[in-house]
């Protein structure tokens, strides 16, 4: 039977090419994801190995209560190590040398005031390290010049030097949060062997300068070199026991492994994200495969009937069809994996060409890509072919005797019942999620959505019948016979047409859903951002928040046309032992600068504290006294007001109170209100000049800039998701093409007849095209309706997260509709060509 299957595939390869291609595309996406992350994974493993290569043992601080090395968890950032820790490490048995190191973020500026690197807030950072002179510890080797000896001397990495044309002896300016420092380039170094910095700029300078730039007191890490012959692991263990709480020691190798591992975890998240899209693509692909096999089985009814008549068992027919599927699955999986390799390789090559691709190892096809590719490709194909195969095995020998292939007039009743039940359950679940007020409503809405989509897919056949019929008159009026025949063809096989349209529907639905959600996110964000700032301009820190330095305020205020400067800052304090975020403001001027609807106004805070809705929920009331505990002090404040915004700190205080806590205060924004009548452009230009020379880590922005930035991010997200979904869409379009192609083959005689009685080729082409466009449009419109409905439902379910409006992305929906028409035309291209090129005589003589 397998031999028969192979023969059948070889005899008529065309009808299976598109099917195989659809599977291959899905498999390709899966394989590409695995190959891509594998390459990145190996690249980073190699990189970390290189970084910690020369360091035998590392001593580093532990964040209290949190995970090591992860500043976002736990409740406080790690504190630097002190000199005692260095001494403990140095004194441990087997230690040759222990040295502290520290680092800070900053900017590198040309003498003309033009920022060379850092300071933009985007792109890779500019990192400042203290030069220890120990090559292994610095991970740097001088290529030119000498080591920095004074505070105003520095060494830059070789790629940065090349990029900006810096040479030994050149003058530059170092920019920090607190000021600028003219310096001289005294050396050029390579970091590790290949200066693989991921685009970051590395600068080595004096310890004092790094501390001044924000490195702070103490050390961020201690590097240890062991004696010749000493066991690094034993030394690490010895140091670790000697260290006080809050610090740990481990070998460089262990650290490299740890880093690679935690990165691997992060990559896994990316993996899952992209795999989800690959599975959507495959799901759509499965539709097409099932559809294709169903059509093929129908077309070969006579052939199978004949086989059964000459004694082939039904089960053998089934095996044969599944054999064909298996063959296709294998071919498609191999093709898909190779396509995935090409795709991943292409992306990596592109990233390398564009710059940020250094950390990729040369792509290979990892075992899991092969296993996943084959498993998914073959399983999906076999599963999709199963029903058609069973159907084929039930064909009676009588079918061979019939004149023409009798049309499959099986009713849609069962399909409708199942579809209706699924859709109703789905809608019910969604409604429950929306209005029953249960916990985590989005779970219900999500599950309901899946059921609803499946149900509608099944019901689509029922919808398509009246639709095609309703459109028949319209199409006939516009395109006469061509339109009529196109409508007839859609109508004739409602199941097939519906399945074809459904593949497109799923893709478009996901797009419409994404567009609706992102449009709403945009609207909500724009509301929030637009409503928040009444300031004319904002000066924000781009790399690290600054400290509350009055001189910055004074200098900004001294710019002509500036009326007030209001600082926004944050700090962490404890209330009743619980760490809470506190927002610190210049409350005297905050009223005009920031549009918080406080009760009463900020100017009446009166040395007290304003509380947020969440604090109120926790029991705070106006008139209560709240005690904030900081690192070096505590204050008891009267609650003098409330404010309605959530998402900011729980408490609002003025700088006067905040400073008594002794905790670091991070200033992240200066809101500028201009004098009325001042030329805003001029004020902005003056501010920019000031910031560029004095505070290179600050940048001037208008509320519009902020909006634009937020919108750009959201658009980028939409673009990424759209790109990932496009795999599914391409497959859906292939599906339409495939169905049409098979249907053209099926209608060979009919098309021949049309040509014989005088239809022109153009006319035949147009007929196929109309059919295709109507199916595509139908799928797209169903998809849009479903997608928007589900998007709205999802947003409603997420109301607690602040989604209080719904924005329908009309523009995008219009684009999707137009694209559906284009997709229909594209999908019809090959089938229409084949139909038009059909030889009239051959068509008439065609042996069904």
């Amino acid at each position: 039977m397998f031999r028969l299957a192979a023969k059948s595939v070889r005899h008529n390869p065309k009808r299976l090419i598109l099917t195989a291609f659809a599977v291959a595309l899905g498999v390709g996406l899966i394989a590409a994801t695995h190959i891509f992350t594998d390459s990145l994974d190996r690249g980073f493993t190699r990189l970390f190995g290189e970084i910690y290569d020369g360091v035998d043992v590392i001593v580093e601080p532990i964040t209290d209560g949190g995970e090591v090395g992860d500043p976002t968890s736990g409740d406080s950032v790690a504190k630097n190590l002190d000199d005692d820790a260095v001494r403990i490490a140095q004194d441990a048995a087997g230690v040759d040398l222990a040295m502290g190191a520290t680092e800070a973020l900053g900017a590198l500026i040309g003498t003309d005031g033009e920022t060379l690197s850092g300071g933009s807030g985007f792109g890779p950072p500019t990192l400042f390290f203290n030069w220890t002179g120990v090559e292994d510890f610095d991970s740097a080797t001088l290529l030119d010049g000498r080591a920095p000896e004074a505070d105003d001397e520095l060494v830059v990495d070789v790629d940065t030097a090349e990029q900006h044309g810096l040479a030994v002896g050149d003058q530059v300016v170092v920019g920090g949060a607190e000021g600028t420092y003219p310096s001289t380039v005294v050396g050029i170094a390579t970091w590790g062997d290949s200066n693989n910095t991921q685009g970051a700029t590395l600068v080595w300078t004096s310890l004092d300068r790094v501390r001044e730039l924000g490195g702070g007191d103490g050390w961020t890490v201690i590097h240890v070199r062991v004696d010749d012959g000493a066991d690094a692991e034993a030394v690490a263990a010895a140091i670790d026991t000697a260290l006080p709480e809050g610090a740990r020691a481990l070998t460089g190798a262990a650290k490299a492994e740890e880093q690679a591992e935690s990165l691997g975890e992060a990559l896994k998240a990316v993996d899952i994200f992209t795999l989800a899209f690959a599975f959507v693509a495959l799901f759509v692909g499965a539709y097409i495969i099932a559809n294709t096999f169903r059509i093929i089985v129908t077309q070969r009814t006579r052939e199978f009937g004949l086989m059964r008549a000459v004694g082939v068992k039904g089960q053998q027919v089934r095996t044969m069809v599944l054999g064909e599927a298996l063959l296709i699955g294998i071919v498609a999986s191999v093709t898909g994996i190779l396509m995935g390799y090409a795709l991943a390789g292409g992306i990596i090559w592109l990233l390398k060409a564009l710059g940020p691709g250094e950390s990729f190892a040369a792509p290979i096809i990892p075992l899991d890509a092969i296993i996943w590719g084959f498993a998914v490709g073959i399983l999906v194909t076999l599963a999709s072919a199963l029903l058609p195969a069973i159907h084929a095995s039930r064909i009676s020998p009588m079918e061979a005797m019939r004149e023409a292939a009798v049309q499959n007039r099986r009713g849609l009743t069962m399909r409708n019942i199942v579809g209706g039940a699924l859709a109703l359950t789905g809608a019910g679940l969604t409604t429950v999620g929306l209005y029953a007020g249960l916990d985590r409503p989005y779970v219900y809405v999500g599950a309901g959505a899946v059921l609803l989509v499946l149900g509608v897919t099944l019901l689509a056949a029922q919808l398509l019948v009246p639709l095609a019929f309703g459109m028949r008159d319209l199409l006939t009026r516009i395109w006469r016979v061509d339109g009529k025949l196109a409508a007839n063809n859609i109508h004739r096989e409602p199941r097939r047409s519906a399945n074809t349209a459904a593949a497109l529907m799923i893709g478009v639905m996901l797009l419409a859903l994404t567009a609706t959600v992102t449009q709403t996110v945009k609207a909500v964000a724009n509301d929030a951002i637009g409503g928040q700032f009444t300031a004319d301009l904002m000066v924000v820190s781009t790399t690290v928040p600054g400290s509350p330095d009055q001189s910055v305020v004074d200098e900004l205020a001294s710019v002509a046309g500036v009326e007030t400067v209001t600082r926004s800052a944050s700090l962490d304090a404890r209330v009743d032992g619980v760490k809470i975020p506190v927002t610190v403001l210049d409350t005297a001027t905050a009223e005009e600068a920031i549009a918080y609807e406080t009760e009463p106004s900020f100017s009446e805070i009166d040395g007290g504290v304003f509380v947020s809705p969440s604090a109120i929920e926790a029991g705070a009331e106006v008139g209560d006294t709240v005690t904030l505990v900081g690192e070096e002090g505590e204050i008891s404040l009267e609650v003098t007001g409330t404010y309605p915004n959530s998402g900011d700190g729980d408490y609002f205080v003025d700088f006067a109170q905040a400073e008594q806590l002794g905790s670091p205060i991070d200033v992240w924004q200066y809101s500028i209100v201009a004098e009325s009548g001042a030329d805003l452009d001029q004020v902005r230009a003056d501010l920019e000049d000031l910031v560029a020379t004095e505070y290179p880590l600050l940048t001037v922005q208008s509320p519009d800039d902020m909006l634009e930035l937020a919108n750009q991010l959201i658009d980028l997200m939409l673009a990424v998701i759209t790109a990932l979904l496009s795999g599914a869409l391409v497959i859906a379009v292939l599906g339409v093409a495939n169905t049409l192609l098979l249907s053209v083959t099926e209608r060979t005689r009919e098309i021949g007849l049309l040509r014989a009685v005088g239809s022109r080729r153009r006319s035949v082409r147009r007929m196929i095209r109309i059919e295709s466009v109507v199916m595509s449009l139908f799928g797209a419109i169903l998809g849009i309706v479903l997608g928007v409905a589900l998007g709205v439902a999802l947003i409603r379910a997420l109301e607690e997260f602040g989604f209080d409006t719904v924005a329908i992305p009309w523009g995008m929906l219009a684009i999707y509709t137009v694209l559906a028409i284009v997709a229909g035309i594209v999908a019809a291209w090959w089938p229409a060509r084949r139909a038009a090129k059909m030889d009239v005589l051959e068509a008439i003589a065609f042996d069904g």
Partner: protein
């Protein structure tokens, strides 16, 4: 051309080769033929003699390898594919042995298909007359699958007639019918020639079918070997036997 009778179609030196080299088959071997208007011409001959090929090349469904052919005054052997299609659409009707109808169109829609394609108006009186003669009045809304073989062929004849083509080509139109339905169909075709001056050229194997025609052309090995006017079934059968059929 030197003929004085009006010709619906003609061919001079019509040659048709299939395949190349050793595998080449000469299906038509220098055929000269004239189909006069308002005449019912039957084409007979052994299997493989080139009957269908002659019909197809005359109708412009296929191209001659050499020679010329005309539909009316138009030399179709010189026309482009698109122009030939137009000639077919406007001047020719077809009845095939089977698969004559578009399955998704009703009988009526099938009948008016050529008019719909060319965008011409239906002449209701003519339509009703044809339907009346062919006895299809109560079958018009049915799909082909719901019609008997004989009814399907009658619908095909009605389709060929409704556009009043200059010429109808029929390739074994009664070949799939029982003798009664076949006789009925051929009777209709003869009536169309006699009463409405329709021109019909028909390929057939059946001497009885040929006896409905005005003239029989006998084909053998791609040549016209004989011709018979006012044929009877017996005379045709005799002639066929001579040809070793």
């Amino acid at each position: 051309m030197t003929t004085t009778v009006t010709l619906a179609a003609s061919m001079r030196g019509g040659t048709k080769d299939y395949g190349h080299g050793d595998a080449a088959v000469r299906a038509l071997d220098g055929i000269d033929v004239d189909i006069a208007t308002a005449e019912f011409t039957a084409i007979m001959g052994p299997s493989g003699s080139g009957k269908s090929t002659l019909l197809h090349t005359l109708a412009g469904l296929d191209r001659l390898t050499a020679g010329q052919s005309w539909i009316g005054e138009t030399e179709i052997s010189a026309l482009s594919e698109d122009k030939i299609t137009q000639v077919r659409r406007d001047k020719i009707g077809f009845v095939f042995q089977a698969f004559n109808l578009i399955p998704s169109l009703s009988a009526k829609e099938n009948i008016t298909l050529p008019l719909d394609i060319s965008g011409r108006d239906i002449d209701p009186a003519w339509f009703d007359e044809i339907i009346g003669i062919l006895g299809l009045g109560d079958r018009l809304t049915h799909l082909p699958a719901e019609l008997s073989g004989g009814q399907q062929q009658r619908v095909a004849v009605a389709r060929a007639l409704v556009a009043r083509p200059e010429l109808i080509f029929a390739d074994e139109p009664s070949g799939n019918l029982d003798s009664r339905s076949g006789a009925e169909l051929l009777g209709f075709m003869r009536r169309a020639v006699k009463e409405f001056g329709q021109t019909i050229a028909m390929v057939t194997h059946d001497p009885t079918a040929a006896s409905y025609s005005d003239r029989v052309l006998f084909l053998a090995d791609g040549r016209i070997v004989d011709e018979m006017r006012e044929p009877t079934a017996d005379a045709v059968l005799d002639r066929m036997k001579q040809m070793g059929h």
